[in-house]
Amino acid sequence: MRKLILIAGGSTLVYFGLALLMAVIPGFELSQVPPGPGVKPLTAIEAEGREVYVGNGCSYCHTQQVRPLPEDKVFGRPSTAGDFAYQTPELLGSERTGPDLTNVAKRRGSEVWQYIHLYNPRAVVPESIMPSFAWMFRVVDTAPKGVTPVPVPKTFAPPSGVVIPTQRAKALVAYLMSLKQAPLSNMAAAGETSAPAAPAGGATAPAAAAPAAAGQPSGGIDSAHGEQLFGDNCAACHQANGEGLAGTFPPLKGNAAVNDANATEHIHAVLFGLQGKVIDGVKYESPMPPWGKQLGDKDIADIINYERSAWGNHGKPVTAADVAAVRAKDDGN
C-alpha cells in the first residue's frame, strides 16, 4: 500500500503543484489584465457575430494575434496583453491556413466585400480555399424593403432571385468589421493626424520606413513596394488585374481619374474613401474605406504610382509631398 501511495499519490501531488504554478496562477493573474487604451467591449450584434465565429470554428484557419516579427507587420502592430481583455473565449488560434484577422476591418474595410466573400470567397479571391458560407444567406425573388441584396458576381450568383444575408451573416460581418487594433497611446497622435510613418497599424509601415531612412528620397518611386501594398490592401476589391468587380467595385484599369494628369482626385479617393461615384455610366454604391488613417504618405504614393503604371495605365506619377498636400488641404473633411 505504501508503494502505491508513494507512486500514485506522490506523483499526483507533484503534478497538482505544477498545474497550479503553470496554469491556475498565471490564469488568475492574466485574467486581471486591464483593457488597453481604446480597447472596448463588443456591441450586442458584434458579440452575437463573435458567437457565430466561434461556433463555426473560424479560428482553426484564422489567427487573431500579431507577433512582433517582421513577417507579421502586414497584419498590424504586435498584439499586447491589453488587446485581449474582452476576449473570452480567446481566439488567438494556432494556424494560418488563411490570413490573420486582428485588423481585418482595416485591411478589408468594405462590408459589401465581406458579404460577397462570405457568400463565396472565390468571387473576390479566385485562389481562395475558404469554405463558402452561402448557407448564412437566403435567396429570395425580390429583396424586402430596406434590405440591400448582396451584389454577388454573375458567375457565382444563384440562377434566379437575389441574395440577402440572414441575421447570422449580418452579425458575423458586424463582428468582422469590429476587428481593428486600437492604436497604442504613445502612437495615437502620430497615427491619427498626418501619419508620416504610420506606426499605428499601417501595413508594412515600419518596413517602409526603414529604406526611407536609409537615404531613399521621399519622393522616389518604389514600384515593387507599391505592388505589394496594393496586393495587401486594395486587390481584394479592385482585384489583382485592376478590373474590379463588375457593377460592385470599380475598375482602376483605364479609369479616368487614375489616368488623369491631375492626380488630386485619385489621391483624395485613396486618402478619404469614396461612395456613389459614377464611372462609365455605372454608379458604385459600396463605400470605399479611407486609407489615410492607416497608411503614411509615402505608402499611399507608392500605391497610387503602382495603380497609375499597371495594367496599361499611364497616369503621371505622384510624390509623397503631393499626397501630404491633398491630406493637409482636405483634412477634417
Partner: protein
C-alpha cells in the same frame, strides 16, 4: 531489477470477463477511429474542393474539432484505457477490481464523445480552445469517466499479488490521475478570461497529450515489449527516471504553443528551456525500448506486432525531439502557425500513440480472447498505415516550411495558400491510405473478438504467438 511477466494470471476466474471488457473497449475505440478518420478524409478533400459539402453541418470549422476530439477522446483514450485495464490485471497477477466499473467507464467515455460530436456539429462550441471544445457539461462526463477509471486502476493495483508495482502501472495510473487534474483545470471557469484563458489553453492542449496519451502509451511499451521478446526491459531504473522527469518537465512547456504571443515572456522562455529538458525522458525512454530490442532484429523483422511497436518507439523519439526543436524561437519564426504543426501532431498522435496502441492490441488481445487475426490482415494494416502516415507527415512538413518561408519573404498571403496546394493533395493521398488501414484494422479487431479468428495457440507467448504465421 528484473521483472519477468509470466503469462498465467493468478485470478483466472475473471479472465473471460476481463477479455470481454478489453474487447469491448477495443471495438468501441475502433469504431471511433474509423468515424473520426472518415471525417478527416472529408476535411482533407475540402482543401482541394472548398465548395464540397458546404452546408452548415459539413462546414470545415465544425468538422475539424470533431476530428481532433474524436481521435483523442473516442479512439485513443478508450483504446488506451482498455489496454491499461488488461495490463494492470495481468501484471499485478490479480483480477480487475471491478468489471462493472469498467463498463460504466466505457459508457461514460462514449456518452461524452457522442454528445460532444453532436454539439460541435450543431455549432455549440466552448470556443476554439484546442482539444476542449466540447461544452463544459460534456467535459464533466469525460472527467467522470476518468475518475471511474482511476478508481478501478488504483484498486486493482492495490490488490496485486506481486510485491512490486510493475512500471507499466506507474505510467497508466499516473496518466489517469494527472489527467483528472488537467481536465478539471480546463473546465473551471474562474481564471479563464482573455489572456488568462490563453495561459490555460497552452497548459491544457499540451498536457492533454503529454500527460495522458504519452504515459499510457509508454505503459503499453513497458508491458508488451518484454512480453513479446521474452526478455525483461533493458533498464527498469531508466524507466523510473523517465517517469519522474516526464512528470516534472512536461507540465511546464505548454506555453511554447504561444511563442511570440502577448503571454509573459518569462512563461514562454521557461517553456522553451524545459522543452529542451524533455530530451532526458524522451531519449532515456526511447533508448530503453530500443536496447530491449537490441540483438533481436530478426524477431522484430518477422513480427508485425513488434513492427507496430518499433514504429511507435521511433515515432516517440522523432516526434518528441522535433517538438523540442520546434520550441526554439528561431525555428518557430518559420514553422509556427503553418501546416508543419499539423505534420508534427500526426507524427506524435499517429506515429507514436496510435502505433503503440495497435502494437498493444495485436500483442495482448489475441492472448485475452484466444483469437488471432490473419497475418495478411496485419501486414496490410501495417504497410498501409506506415506508408500513408509517412506521406502525410512529409507532405505537411515540406508544405508547412514553404508556407513559413513565403511569409518570411513577405509574399502576399494568398501566395502561401497557392504554394502549399500540391502538398494538401499529397496529404489527402496519405490520409486515404491511413483510412484504408483503419478499415483493415477494424476487420482484424472483428476477427480477434466477435468474429472467427485464427485460434491462438498455447498461451505461451512467444514473439510470434499472436500472429498466424
Amino acid at each position: 531489477m528484473s521483472f519477468f511477466i509470466s503469462e498465467d494470471a493468478a485470478g483466472d476466474g475473471d479472465s473471460s470477463e476481463l477479455a470481454r471488457l478489453f474487447a469491448g473497449y477495443t471495438i468501441s475505440a475502433t469504431a471511433w477511429l474509423v468515424f473520426a478518420t472518415f471525417v478527416a478524409i472529408v476535411l482533407a478533400y475540402k482543401f482541394g474542393a472548398p465548395d464540397f459539402g458546404s452546408g452548415a453541418w459539413l462546414t470545415f470549422g465544425r468538422l475539424r474539432p470533431i476530428h481532433t476530439n474524436d481521435t483523442f477522446y473516442g479512439w485513443a483514450s478508450i483504446a488506451l484505457v482498455g489496454l491499461a485495464y488488461y495490463v494492470a490485471a495481468r501484471s499485478c497477477r490479480t483480477q480487475l477490481y471491478s468489471i462493472r466499473l469498467g463498463w460504466v467507464g466505457l459508457g461514460l467515455f462514449n456518452l461524452a464523445a457522442v454528445l460532444g460530436t453532436v454539439a460541435l456539429d450543431l455549432g455549440y462550441s466552448a470556443g476554439d480552445l484546442e482539444y476542449r471544445e466540447w461544452p463544459w457539461p460534456i467535459r464533466l462526463i469525460f472527467v467522470a469517466a476518468l475518475v471511474v477509471t482511476a478508481i478501478n486502476l488504483l484498486a486493482t493495483v492495490a490488490r496485486r499479488s506481486t510485491d512490486d508495482i510493475y512500471l507499466s502501472n506507474w505510467y497508466t495510473m499516473g496518466g489517469v490521475l494527472w489527467t483528472v487534474i488537467i481536465a478539471t483545470v480546463g473546465v473551471l471557469p474562474w481564471y479563464q478570461y482573455g489572456l488568462g484563458q490563453v495561459a490555460v489553453s497552452g497548459f491544457y492542449m499540451h498536457n492533454a497529450v503529454g500527460l495522458w496519451f504519452t504515459p499510457l502509451a509508454l505503459g503499453i511499451f513497458y508491458y508488451a515489449l518484454p512480453k513479446l521478446l521474452n526478455r525483461p526491459i533493458y533498464s527498469y531504473a531508466l524507466g523510473i527516471l523517465a517517469f519522474w522527469t516526464n512528470l516534472l518537465f512536461y507540465p511546464i512547456i505548454g506555453s511554447h504553443h504561444f511563442l511570440f504571443s502577448p503571454l509573459p515572456w518569462w512563461l514562454q522562455t521557461t517553456a522553451i528551456v524545459f522543452s529542451v529538458a524533455m530530451l532526458v525522458p524522451v531519449w532515456g525512454g526511447s533508448a530503453n525500448f530500443l536496447l530491449t530490442m537490441r540483438g533481436r532484429i530478426s524477431v522484430v523483422a518477422h513480427s508485425y506486432t513488434l513492427g507496430f511497436i518499433l514504429i511507435g518507439v521511433v515515432g516517440y523519439l522523432v516526434g518528441s525531439t522535433q517538438g523540442t526543436l520546434e520550441a526554439f524561437r528561431s525555428l518557430q519564426q518559420v514553422w509556427h502557425l503553418t501546416s508543419f504543426t499539423v505534420g508534427h501532431s500526426h507524427l506524435t498522435m499517429y506515429g507514436f500513440v496510435t502505433f503503440a496502441i495497435w502494437g498493444g492490441i495485436y500483442a495482448l488481445l489475441p492472448a485475452a480472447t484466444g483469437k488471432r487475426p490473419g497475418r495478411l490482415g496485419i501486414a496490410a494494416h501495417f504497410w498501409l498505415a506506415v506508408v500513408g502516415s509517412f506521406i502525410y507527415v512529409i507532405a505537411m512538413s515540406i508544405g508547412g516550411t514553404i508556407q513559413g518561408l513565403d511569409w518570411v519573404q513577405g509574399k502576399p498571403f494568398i501566395q502561401s495558400v497557392i504554394d502549399i496546394g500540391p502538398f494538401y493533395i499529397w496529404r489527402g493521398v496519405g490520409g486515404i491510405l491511413m483510412f484504408l488501414s483503419h478499415l483493415v484494422f477494424a476487420w482484424n479487431v472483428w476477427r480477434m473478438t466477435l468474429g472467427h479468428g485464427v485460434q491462438a495457440s498455447a498461451a505461451q507467448a512467444g514473439p510470434l504467438a499472436t500472429e498466424a504465421v
